[in-house]
Subunit: 319 residues, 6 copies
């Protein structure tokens, strides 16, 4: 994505579901205090992952801030908006997937004014993707959740579906749609398939049955390496997760920048900048893919690795 | 206003009118040196108030900067533009009042294309408010200064009035207007009354005689608590000072941000951002007021207090 | 230009052409280490000059960054884009010259829709200036390089010329143009002459033969002081180098700002901001020149010196 | 005392006897965190006073140390020995009083090999003073505690008395001594009287009945200003508290120095250095007193004030 | 030992014998640079261990010092004396062992004016121990090196033996002594046996054959746990390694303190302070051992652990 | 001297005799502020030289201290004792010369119990040297000042002479002594000649007339290089200034150390440490001189240079 950001993981070996909120807070503050020399807006910037959330980030930020004597919002990302988080962060991943779908459709010259889309998963990523593609004139013909899938070849009314899900807690039973199982959903004919649920959904067992032209990976690792090869041989294009679902980390980066400037953007500004960065990254990957006849996944990796190598070469090794 | 900013006051017990400029400078530098551990762009950022001005801020900024070894414009706000102050700061309070008037007129559905306005006070706040509302198509029917008031039910030509005041030093005698006393001015029939002079102008003595529909407080505390109740009972809406005259502190915040980025905005950019922030704040207050049937003053307080409470709850108390 | 930036020079007494790359790197890192207390985004920010380049800046940035423990892109400018340099820096000087030409043509009311331009030098500055003026509808009638000049009174097709030069390594021989020597080029009749090659090109020997109306200095010091007087007496306006070729330092300033915000601008954003700053500076100089009957060079100096004096007066001398 | 140390007080408005140990710890850590910018081995160094103790100092030291990331023993004095406190601190005040008695006896030429001493108070100060004077060959003829006094004109066996008090909890009833009330104790004939209990013991009511030659003030303010004058007129010498009981603050200073060097002294070394500093201070005061015919209290003040004035004059006022 | 010092280990996974000196230096500097945030006179202070030496420490100290901008001798210990190392460091471990032998002999009331000693190992530790005990009037009857042992029941002339070893490279063949093997050496009758060679010398195989009264462990771990029990049952006292060979770390601590004061002690001063600290520690351990009927090893551990526990209890757990 | 101290000079180009005290103070504070990044107890530590004095050092110390926020005595040496200067600094150079004379007399085996000394100059250096040698049993037979010299072959009563000079302002006319001119003084027969006045006193004009056995240079450069050779050929030993008059810089170093420990030494402690360091340095130089047949001046240089070279070799060159 061209963000001036590295990446690392750290954690505590604990069963968080056994902690009271008070224990969780004290544990978080103690951990923050132990690693405080490694943290800072210019050093390492934690963000939430499994079993941590906005509240955890608020505690880390508060502990760090008290320690240095003034509020430092940029020491973490994924904070609540009310203490320096970014607008648009919650929707960012789904929004990025939608931008990617649109770039891919353009790049590969999908015909017709309303390309058809199937979205697996209707959580934070899938529902936002579906909503935005619907707004953009795409025809979302199938979606699923953990309980099952629905299908309407004329396109689902996504805003109404979202209201329905919010009330009923599932997609099946939605007026004017036909119920399917999840397996069948993936094999529906469509222009674009967006697997936005779990990893490992597209495997050597079902890859040759897929009838989509393009897959845009909203989840982490939805396609196995074997399936990747099968799809490539079939001519199905796979826009890889490291590109397609990078909207979240991009807005984390925006949150960091806003905190350092102490100037907070409107949601529109966040979304425009996200589109600019996602769009540029998609275009670079797809162009390199086409030009060098690389799968998009390989093109994305080549770009990423060559940027690191270039920076390393320029900076040298010191001392 | 949603600014990432706290507030505090500090001062020196001295009679500043007895100081020579040299004494004033040395006193300011000594004071800065004594509290220097508490100052900084991330800690406490002085701004001018009574008996201090741009020059005072320049001295504080210089003393702090020499102490840390490089120029730090963001350690104060209210600096001269030539050493890092913000464009648009002088007009900011009046401009904010004008934005507020426009939002209130829209919100409360004042009829007609040229709502009528009376402005008490024609200094830095009142004259800017009048000028901007005039430009926006409002009909400014009455204004006053310390020497008296004028009235023209067809609307005053504000640009010409400003030129007249600049030459004559007062508003009365302006061509095509009728002289009034200040008391009468407040009781003129109008859509919007902007008290932009001193505190305590609208009291239990005159509140029930007011003929405006909306009051937008440009001064600090122009309405007494008793008058507030009377007006409320009469159905006159009061947009409170903590909202309406926050344009000044908002541009101080912009000055701080610009100094930290070392990127200085044009006057247009300052004004656009001010309108965005003032507009959002007005809308939030007026909507809450309408929805919860709270006076706007109470709605503003509720929003402000709940933001602090929310942040406090999220951050927790540590240690 | 109104940039919050001072200026100084430092260097190593060495013959750089005798250094191996390894020696050059070690020397650069040692030098950086020796002066490291004086460097920093808030202190002194090196940029490349003679015999130093992007690679040198990368080494300085890396040495400084390792020393403080995290990457600090803003400690230098003129870095490669891949490690935090700014888009648009390479073209910045030529682009600034072109903006200046356009402002001068407007200010002095040059008639006709396609003012004619002669550009001396077709390197990084001259070719960019020519390209942008051509795009803006100017008629570039003559250009030169170290091997000679060409002329076409109907205007040269600059994009094609650039392609030609890129292939042939020189301007002469370009289809539809007539060859000239460099001396004759300067004396061509035109609206605007842009000397963008070496210093000392317009002297008391040729000044009175010039047939242009306006000179915009793209190079450093192309006009000698004696020539300046002759041109002034003839009525030829000289837009001075300290104004006209300040595009490069302005984008260096942008690079610094982007690095401190860790938010990197697109090339369009860089160019828009450059135009805004160059335009404002040109207008101020030309207006003062006209109003106070000063040569533009003197007007530029008066503005620059008075800004320093004003800041000095406001900040005072301490201790 | 010539220590490179200032003095100030700070505290929390709370009823400490109502706090649980946990509340006390959290309150102490919060307070430390709030004033942490003002603390440090080079800034302000808390020491215990009323309702705070070694444990309180340990908490402050720990809170500060965690905050800066490494153990900083010198940020407080009065710590437990096991985490960086000084040997000899507990006995320091009594030991200093004893040194002072010996210097005064020498200075004023008290005859006989075993000068007689009366000590009011047998707590931390009085018992140590009595023990050390006994060891030094003085004859301690009377001591008291809150329950009453005892007297033996041939001298009390102080080591045995200390053992007796440790068992019985009071001085009266000690074998071979005669019981007195506290009032009578002060009026016993003796060479040196050491009031080491409460303030305000020697007043205009009993001053003229005192039969001692020298008073060495172990307590804070045992002599009222009126009594001071009466005693002076009678020829009784009063060695003032600010000199005589400065042993405690002196060993606090030693604790600070040891912590900064991270080199801890043996109890003998502490006592030798204490004697050196107390002895020099006593001699200076008594010599000035004799030479300038000032009461010792005035001589001590003159020396103290003139040291501050001298330092202030040399350093100047800046800025 | 009561030193204000913790302990930790760090290293590089490399085969140092394969490094050129230049590689070794660059590797050491890189390692220092990578962990530099964790180093410092107040944080972590490296000292040499296996495959590192004075030169390594000099490189670490230089790298750190260049990084912070001034020479910081206290960031490492074990430096060469010429750049801030301590006099007496080389002999410190052997000297500490000798002090310990003397304290143990006194404590356990060994009869006769010249207690007999056997020293296993004649390297840096053993030869210094033997030399100092010889000077103190002990009769050193046997010593060994890797090649074998020698014995003289009347006592060896240690200064002459040292000269002999320095010339011949081994102890056997020394005039007036009888050759033995190492195994026999340990079983010689003597008052004190000092195993100062390798670990694991006294095991369940030979423990019951030992004829000494006291063992003072100069090496690390010379006695196995099983042997420890056998010796205890036999009534042989074992002064444990964590006490007896702590002279080296104690002088490292002195080196740190000297560097922070920038005041360097003479060798005599180092030795006196070492004796004071070793003596106090020996006495505490032996007294506790006798009083509580604990083996000295257990007594030493109890003292060490209880000090940590006491400090931990007093400081509390924060945050 | 083996001090952990470098050396450098800095200054202001000004005629200090033209400055008022206020100008001098402001100039000193401004200078301090300009170079403040280079100063500090761990960086560069100014000390007084020509036209600066204790007061100047107090101003520098105060300016620096205010800047960092707490008193930092160790940032300068040569401060007044009342704000952290060292006892014994005034006499330090003369005292060091006297120690040197005694070491040289011992080393070269000067016979007789009262070696005879001639001292040129009776200022701060010469009079202290004379006083201390007199106390040590030397026979001071001649001294001089700017007005002339005196001679008494049986030895002058130095304490009485000091009292005489303090009253009369010159040495001549002292009871029981014979007047000489300065030239004759140098040529008196004696064991030791101490030139402690100006440089360039012993030249090729008088070197061969000198009748002393040893010259100990109290002044800077009293012997010209030509004279040095002549004296060497005659067998006169010259103890060089860089050794003999290093007492002053040594006590400056003590002042620095005391300030960093915040523990101030008594005058006796200062003098003992001075003797220890001067004595060791003298012995090393004289021993090397004798052993390697180098003039003492060359031996001193060899020791100094080899220490720097050794440290440089050990630390290496980085980066």
């Amino acid at each position: 994505m061209g963000l001036p950001y590295g990446g690392a993981k750290g954690g505590i070996r604990v069963e968080p579901w056994n902690l009271t909120p008070g224990e969780n807070e004290r544990l978080t503050r103690r951990y923050t205090s132990e690693i405080i020399n490694l943290l800072g807006p210019d050093k390492d910037i934690p963000a939430p992952d499994m079993y941590t959330n906005e509240q955890t980030m608020a505690w880390i930020m508060d502990t760090y801030s008290i320690n240095v004597g003034h509020t430092v919002p940029s020491v973490v990302t994924g904070k609540p908006v009310s203490i320096g988080g970014s607008f648009g962060r919650t929707e960012a991943t789904g929004r990025g997937v939608a931008y990617c779908v649109r770039r891919a459709v353009n790049h590969y010259g999908i015909k017709g004014d309303a390309p058809s889309v199937v979205v697996q998963g209707f959580g934070n990523v899938g529902s936002v993707t579906a909503k935005l593609l619907h707004q953009a004139g795409f025809k979302v013909v199938g979606v699923s959740d953990v309980y099952g899938a629905i299908y309407n070849p004329k396109g689902l009314d996504i805003p109404r579906l979202i209201a329905y899900v919010s009330e009923m807690g599932k997609v099946q039973g939605f007026n004017g749609s036909q119920d399917l199982d999840n397996k069948a959903l993936l094999e529906l004919p469509c222009d674009v398939l967006v697997p936005a649920a779990l990893g490992g959904q597209i495997t050597n067992l079902n890859a040759d049955k897929l009838q989509c032209k393009i897959i845009v990976e909203g989840a982490n690792g939805p396609t196995t390496p074997e399936a990747d090869v099968i799809l490539h041989d079939k001519g199905v294009i796979v826009v890889p997760d490291i590109l397609a679902n990078a909207g979240g980390v991009t807005v984390s980066y925006f949150e960091w920048v806003q905190g350092m400037m102490h100037l907070f953007w409107t949601e529109d500004e966040v979304n425009q900048r996200l589109e600019q960065i996602m769009g540029r990254a998609c275009d670079q990957v797809l162009e390199l893919s086409t030009k060098s006849k690389l799968r998009p996944r390989m093109a994305a990796l080549r770009i990423g690795v060559s940027r690191i190598a270039e920076a390393k070469r320029l900076r040298g090794l010191y001392p």
